[in-house]
Symmetry: C2
Subunit: 351 residues, 2 copies
Amino acid sequence: MNKPWSDKLRKIEPYIPGEQSKKSNVIKLNANENPYPPSPEVKKVLSNFDTDNLRKYPASDASDLKAALAKCYNINENQIFVGNGSDDVLALCFQSFFCSDKPILFPDLTYSFYPVWCSLFRTPYKTIPLDENFRINPDDYKKENGGVILPNPNAPTGIYENLSFIENILNNNKDSIVIIDEAYIDFGGQSAISLLDKYENLVIVQTMSKSRSLAGLRVGYAFASAELIETLDAVKNSYNSYTMDSVTIAAASASLSDHQYFLDTCNKVINTRNRTINVLNELGFHVLPSETNFVLASHKSISAIHIFEKLKQENIFIRYFKIPRIENYLRITIGTDEEMDTLFSSLKKIL
Amino acid sequence: MNKPWSDKLRKIEPYIPGEQSKKSNVIKLNANENPYPPSPEVKKVLSNFDTDNLRKYPASDASDLKAALAKCYNINENQIFVGNGSDDVLALCFQSFFCSDKPILFPDLTYSFYPVWCSLFRTPYKTIPLDENFRINPDDYKKENGGVILPNPNAPTGIYENLSFIENILNNNKDSIVIIDEAYIDFGGQSAISLLDKYENLVIVQTMSKSRSLAGLRVGYAFASAELIETLDAVKNSYNSYTMDSVTIAAASASLSDHQYFLDTCNKVINTRNRTINVLNELGFHVLPSETNFVLASHKSISAIHIFEKLKQENIFIRYFKIPRIENYLRITIGTDEEMDTLFSSLKKIL
């Protein structure tokens, strides 16, 4: 409806978030959430939190969390930026590092928010098709650009590339910022953190949502050279100096202190994933190699949408993308062994 | 230092947040924080929180918090937007509602973030001087504009204008969005919420940081017509669907349920403020009328910067702004009666 002030509003397509069932008795394998709870240290922080202190503003630099991250990853605090989930961090990276008139580059099949941010911030971009095996060809990233962003492992394919691949991209893009989005790196890949000292134009983004079972807490971070972190801080502080609340700072820091729990839960997910790939292969699926907490799989004879709908009727929720090239694939998050066994039984019935 | 990629970075002045002393034995009257703790209901929520559930993403619409706000303020849930502090909400409002080429209007002496957001989002603006009594003249807001934003009460003056003043502004700006920033409304003013049904172009922004003693939790909200809230949601969802964490949603909702506690603490602050104004007057200060949890005051003979520095030596922190027209004023947050008595004693020594 047209109002006298309608021309002053931002024109934007409403974004429709993924389907979240409100039923309780479902197996939820559609959001890449970790099936295991966060470290018990998080519970302790909340139980003992001095809520009287909430009357005060939090530390604007979330210094306790930066100190915990610096210790955990053996880097300097001035190489760390923290935000409310990696989406927040990535959106700020787009605004901070992709400010030229040249197009930024990313794969055609990748995280769906990249083109959304480009549109929001009016960043020109060019997508580059994955090859026939859904892999990134590093030679495609040798052209002039305004920046490069790649998830490693890529999503929704799950495919991981090793560090010499990342170095290849960095060496061919010394005059751009290269962002490696490592949301899923802890499920078998090797982080590019070891390359930070060598490449001042490298930005690594990670999240606590997947491998640390803290999607509900909203914590993400960027690791980069001190100069790039300063730019991120300046942009963030011009929006809002106090973005991360005191409870989140304390709970996230506690989670980092429990390294053994983190390794154990990641290993459980990795083992279940590898078992899942074997069972799905036996059931006639083509499964892409995955170093994440999900698999992308296509059945040889039954259509993806049919399997998706049938599983939904059984209260098992997985993810179907109506996207060219993968419209016959299903993304299945790795749950507990018990949840996956229920999935396998249902699949056997359907096939 | 110039790097090959420097031209691709956002050019931005680093923002320097206000001084936060790390000493423990200080009286902190410089950040407009509430001296009383939040409702005991907040403590209960944290103590009993099911941290296992943090492995899942929060509700992207923070529906529990919207329901609690709708009940508390007797408006519809589709008239409510929530964000990480009112700075987050206001920054999104600037991006969503101030998208024309005409300048937006706001007072010369007002919240310091307004021009910062204009610069960040490339929004043209024009500041309008307050009159000689630091009041807003509504006739000044009758010119063509791209939007209007006013805090009521204004900060750092503390001066409140009544609802017929607000209606005057609204009636003269039917083709723009008018944002009333009510960060301090609960300390004696009357909210413009009752005008929402009459003016579809009105946006009211409030925060839990001051009157609900939850600065550390980062919660702000906007109230407006359903159409404007839809625009805000679309812009927010294109950054990050899951901005507010599960703990914050639960704790903020609980705070709203304890209405008596909220009224009691606001009344305590109001009483202490009124007493403070009397004492400061007796001590030779000119104090602006305040309906907030702070006062802006200037001494007849001693300079503001001198008083500021002397108080700092006594571990009492208040706020001094090196800003034209108020460079001889001090902003003093209302603390407990005990804290204010200590301030008065120190002032007597200094004067």
